[in-house]
């Protein structure tokens, strides 16, 4: 009988798998340049509509800047939904899920690879959206604390993608409902996160909506980033956001892991892991 791998060997193998899955995502998404152009160019149209509207009703130019940041950040939510949450469904349809389940690596490392690849890919697109937005609409930004911007950005992505891991685990056994669920979660989060509002935590936004929005890491991260890059705020102004994002990660990651293990074991028991075309 083979000896069990050491902790170090096991960790190395899982990191290799995560890296490989990240590489697949990066390679696959950037092989077709028209997709890259579309993913940067098309959101600008929605953003542009809001910027023009806010100008027309006399809001300050910073409202346009808020929409550009919102439009860039919301790309991550779209990525989390379509490339994380429903990913096991696609992998199963392609026959890849069986291969992941037969391989001697943790499924969490595969999800981690997807998350790393997805966030890096989307970061390229988000940067493109911001640069194109600034160029096209000449909106003002004021960054006094770039280090904090970096921290909040990374924490927001980590919280969002751990939420994506949790969804992926929950929807592991889903058939075509995965598609509908992703659709169902898309627009409400666009709305509740305040991506296209000048600000979510403003007196004009109903309190209930603010509370509901605050349950989504995107809302917290987006608000913090807006304060940092538009108002020129320092870390002292957004420390509650940082605490909230860290709390999200600490809760969501272990929850995603447990859920994944549970759903995998349920799938094996009920024989639903390898069923297709449901």
């Amino acid at each position: 009988m083979l000896p069990s791998p050491s902790f170090r060997e096991d960790l190395t193998n899982n990191l290799r798998a995560a890296y490989a899955r990240m590489w697949v995502r990066l390679r696959g998404a950037n092989r077709d340049p028209t997709a890259l152009a579309a993913e940067i160019g098309l959101p600008i149209l929605t953003i542009g509509a809001y910027v023009i509207l806010y100008r027309a009703i006399g809001l300050p130019a910073t409202a346009g800047a808020a929409v550009i940041v919102g439009g860039a950040m919301i790309a991550f939510w779209t990525n989390v939904l379509w490339n994380m949450s429903s990913q096991w469904f696609w992998e199963r349809e392609q026959g890849n899920l069986e291969m992941y389940l037969v391989a001697p690596v943790s499924r969490m490392s595969i999800l981690l690879g997807m998350a790393m690849g997805g966030s890096l890919n989307t970061a390229i697109r988000a940067l493109g959206i911001v640069l194109l937005g600034i160029f096209a609409f000449q909106v003002p930004f004021l960054v006094r604390d770039p280090f904090s911007v970096g921290i909040v950005f990374v924490l927001t992505l980590a919280a969002l993608y751990t939420l994506g891991m949790l969804f992926a685990s929950l929807f592991m056994l889903y058939g075509r409902e995965a598609w509908n669920t992703a659709n169902l979660l898309q627009e409400p989060v666009y709305f509740l996160s305040g991506a296209y509002f000048p600000a979510i935590y403003a007196p004009i936004v109903p309190f209930g909506l603010q509370v509901a929005g605050s349950l989504i890491p995107m809302t917290i991260g987006l608000d913090a980033i807006r304060r940092l890059v538009i108002d020129g705020a320092s870390i002292m102004a957004i420390w509650p956001h940082i605490v909230a994002l860290i709390a999200c990660i600490l809760i969501l990651f272990p929850l995603a892991r447990r859920t994944l293990n549970y759903m995998e074991s349920l799938g094996k028991k009920e024989g639903r892991l390898t069923l297709r075309w449901q």
């Binding site: 069990s4 490989a20 696959g28 392609q94 026959g95 001697p104 390898t274």
Partner: protein, 325 residues
């Protein structure tokens, strides 16, 4: 010489939820199997016989409802992570991988799921590409490969971790004759490297006959017989196996089955020519006169008839009473 057991199942049973009100579906029923090192073992049975269910349990993709399954002495339920280091699975008709990636990139990706270092993976992939004659397609995207080459890539993926136990679920499904032959040769060469085991499912009788050291015949979740192809065929050789061509197409095949002395029959209808080919296993040749009378009663006339060497299909017919349906 006593050989080491590579795969072992004891009283393995698997139920699936059936249509409401109809009860559970028994996919595997008290399956006991022993497969040894250096052996190519074939599971032969029609669609829905339980072959894939058994493979899925052995690959840790499905939990058994009852019983025990061991790979190299490791329990598929309790020691799944250890088992996954020893096995790989290739399903025919499946093309796992990413269409947008090339052959080389896909193989590299799968090698990383088994923790192969960069240099080791590079060497291994080069060897597999050479063995499976994929050199000209190394940088071709998987989505642009033909079915045959996709299947070669799939097989290369199955060998990428040089598993101790390789599960092949209908590996030649959809392959042309040459590709299927190439694949069989490859499997035979690989098993000779020593310390390997192949469990192969197929419904191609000739494939099982040519490739497998031993064959288990499975139907409705039960293993009906298990032995070398030669011994299985010898068991039916005591009777008589016949091939009879009749015309027009037989409308009531069950009437042939009920002739005394007919152990089993399989019929193949050619609608275009109106010819039905019957493969029959008889207890002895005394059943022949009743059989010919029954054919005439069905309004058919005999075009051709002859005794044939028993094949694995005849073994199956003698065990189940019919051919694969």
């Amino acid at each position: 010489m006593k050989r080491d057991l590579s795969i072992e199942t004891k009283g393995l049973r698997r139920l699936f939820k059936g249509i409401p009100g109809k009860g559970d579906v028994v996919a595997l029923d008290q399956v006991g199997l022993e497969v040894y090192d250096d052996e190519i073992f074939g599971l032969l049975g029609p669609n829905g016989a339980g072959k894939t269910t058994l493979i899925k349990i052995l690959c840790t993709l499905l939990l058994p409802t009852q019983g025990e399954a061991l790979i190299k002495g490791l329990d598929v339920v309790k020691q799944a992570p250890q088992i996954r280091r020893l096995i790989n699975l290739v399903s025919g008709g499946e093309t796992p991988g990413y269409g947008i990636l090339s052959v080389k990139e896909n193989l590299w990706f799968f090698s990383q799921l088994y923790g192969l270092s960069r240099d080791f993976a590079k060497d291994r992939i080069a060897k597999l590409v050479d063995q499976l004659e994929l050199q000209d397609y190394l940088n071709t995207r998987m989505s642009k490969l033909s079915t045959g080459y996709k299947q070669r890539l799939n097989l290369a993926r199955g060998f990428v971790n040089d598993p101790a136990v390789l599960f092949l679920d209908e590996p030649t499904l959809g392959l042309d004759v040459l590709s299927a032959r190439h694949l069989r040769t490859l499997i035979q060469d690989w098993i000779k490297t020593g310390g390997k085991t192949v469990l192969l499912t197929t419904h191609y009788m000739a494939e099982a006959d040519q490739l497998c050291d031993r064959v288990g015949i499975i139907n409705r979740g039960k293993i009906l017989a298990c032995d070398t192809p030669q011994r299985l065929k010898t068991k039916v050789a005591g009777g008589a196996t016949w091939k009879i061509e009749i015309t027009p197409n037989l409308s009531r095949p069950e009437s042939i089955k009920s002739v005394p002395g007919v152990v089993g029959v399989s019929e193949t209808n050619n609608i275009e020519t109106g010819v039905t080919t019957l493969k029959l296993v008889l207890e002895d040749e005394s059943a022949m006169s009743d059989l010919l009378s029954r054919i005439r009663e069905n309004g058919c006339k005999v075009l051709n008839m002859g005794k044939s060497e028993p094949t694995l299909e005849d073994v199956y017919i003698s065990l189940v009473g019919t051919g694969f349906e």
